[in-house]
Symmetry: C2
Subunit: 407 residues, 2 copies
Amino acid sequence: MKTIKGGVTAAKGFKAASTAAEIKYKGRKDMLLIYSESPCTAAGVFTSNVVKAAPVMWDREICNGIHPVHAIVGNSGIANACTGELGKRICKETADAVTNLLGIPENSVLVASTGVIGMQMNMEAVKKGICDMVPKLSDTTEAGTGAAEAIMTTDTYAKEMAVEFELDGKTCTIGALAKGSGMIHPNMCTMLSFVTTDVSISHDLLQKALREVANETYNMISVDGDMSTNDSVMVLANGEAGNSEITEEGDAYNTFKEGLYTICREVARMLAGDGEGATALFTVHVKNADTKDNARTLAKSVICSSLTKAMIYGHDANFGRILCALGYSGVLFDPEKVELSIHSEAGNVLLFKNGEPQAFDEEYATKVLSEKEVIAEVDMNLGNEEATAWGCDLTYDYVKINADYRS
Amino acid sequence: MKTIKGGVTAAKGFKAASTAAEIKYKGRKDMLLIYSESPCTAAGVFTSNVVKAAPVMWDREICNGIHPVHAIVGNSGIANACTGELGKRICKETADAVTNLLGIPENSVLVASTGVIGMQMNMEAVKKGICDMVPKLSDTTEAGTGAAEAIMTTDTYAKEMAVEFELDGKTCTIGALAKGSGMIHPNMCTMLSFVTTDVSISHDLLQKALREVANETYNMISVDGDMSTNDSVMVLANGEAGNSEITEEGDAYNTFKEGLYTICREVARMLAGDGEGATALFTVHVKNADTKDNARTLAKSVICSSLTKAMIYGHDANFGRILCALGYSGVLFDPEKVELSIHSEAGNVLLFKNGEPQAFDEEYATKVLSEKEVIAEVDMNLGNEEATAWGCDLTYDYVKINADYRS
């Protein structure tokens, strides 16, 4: 498994393009197109929010079916959520515009939107953007990065990644782009992330691998506890690597899944660390829990605690807030058994053990808490299960960004 | 039902005192004592956090029993939570010190603490504070207000209230004090609030009334989603009003419960509106839901949404965030049926109906959102159940207060 340069255009046969279509933002890229001439198997996991954006309903239908997929078209600025019948129509017209221009079959285009909820899209702008992008489609690294840039909203940098590995003596690649960075609290789903691979794999196994990997990666992050109406992660696999199609679980499946996991974990960490206004990535590792589900619930409860997040921002070892967040997670445990420490590149501090606060050097603790990644290590001393969750600190800038995001 | 001046000393036979014991804070009051010479029936509801502070465990025991209670002793600065055996011992020694000085029976003193978690209390300071307070006990309004001031942490003002009503031709009174204003997200429990009344009522009915009222008031507020380790609301009823003891549900019980509800709702609204850093009280009223539980869950989901709270701070009618928060509440509903408007003293704006955003004047909406109380009215169009929840906006000051609260 080797990390390589690039993102969605890293795998063979995938092209991308982006443009400034002025859907809402002015003077910056806001549309992207990803395309594979070879037909792709597609899988997706989507928001479990009852209020689902129009593109989510469109994509779910396609990913659940076995139609070959050729393209993803996406925009930032407007989420096309809470937009009623008109929103659904815009979704179909957007896909159809791509279908017509590329000469590909109906229902082979996935659609994704991110931005303000409850605002209608301007179809003319969308169509103009698509016309502009089709002739620019390119398999260069730059084209992939451009697509990653076009989907950004409050992200401070474009998020992409690619890995390479071998199957049947053939070089295989998985690449991805993703966007955050607010309304991030995925549950059985993710924020927007598009993954492309040249691996040949059956629809069922692609969906299975994606769901399992998403549970351990995207579903274990939170920036602000707000689960979006548009969360989607979609994978396109076009088979151009030339491996024998993966149709059962085994070594090849495991290798592919490991690649997918590596990509999704790193992208999830990027999303958490670049959460709106964040100055630090906050990782919580819960170990020796009684069940896997409880380990996950405990870890997520801590990364979602506003008070804990503000404490990370303040570099203050006010660890009672972490114990408090474990305590209201809904999981039963014995507080006297919990062992809690924080660590980072600057060192390690034991804070709580045997039901009592431990003496520690405040200045040293502040140093440990001042790194770019801070890890809370929670030992439940109850069993053998573990889980990791990723979040970020809560800062003035989070409030600033969200008090006037729409305007 | 009449609102009158005062708080915990408003009801007959209740005295209070406060002092600066330097438990953690310097140069401000940090201890309070409430006392009734007549023995009181006591009821309490407490945090459902698995991590419970030592005083919570002490009080629960006493409130569950039928011992008469005479006093509440409380402190701010240190929460006596996550403090192990020593914390429990300090709790007992504190109660015993009050018992000895006042010459009242063992186990007749409730104890409450609020402040930093995971820090041990200095028993000498506590004892000195108690010795200082006992001779100062007084039934004046000022003594009650002093007690309300002593329990404050990040509250910007002391919270107290009292109401008066008649039972059997006798004037009855209920008074209360309470403190917020961070780590506020009660669940089957509340933050610290002490209620005193001269009504005569059985232990079972006092407990029943308190639990039901707390569910509709304290349990319907959230400042930051963090449920405290110390949440407690306790009521002392000393019977000095002279009404016939309330031993069954009926008119007298209903009148008492209405008084208790009035007090608790107003105090809950004060706590929400004075949430850490808050500039506005944010009220969410969900109506025509299919079940009462769903109405409550939907309303609470919205007041807990960081993005919605930041939008209130920004006076920005970005209503998609409210729909989004309804959608991830866990309640199933049809988004197309939801009708959403916001109102305040400045007016009323319809935002969403029939599955589509409604046209509205942005400037007017901003005016409506700029009042001290902003109300979101959510009509689910599914049934006949309703619920109200209270929260506040998310501001720079919330982050500021909590990035360096401990130091």
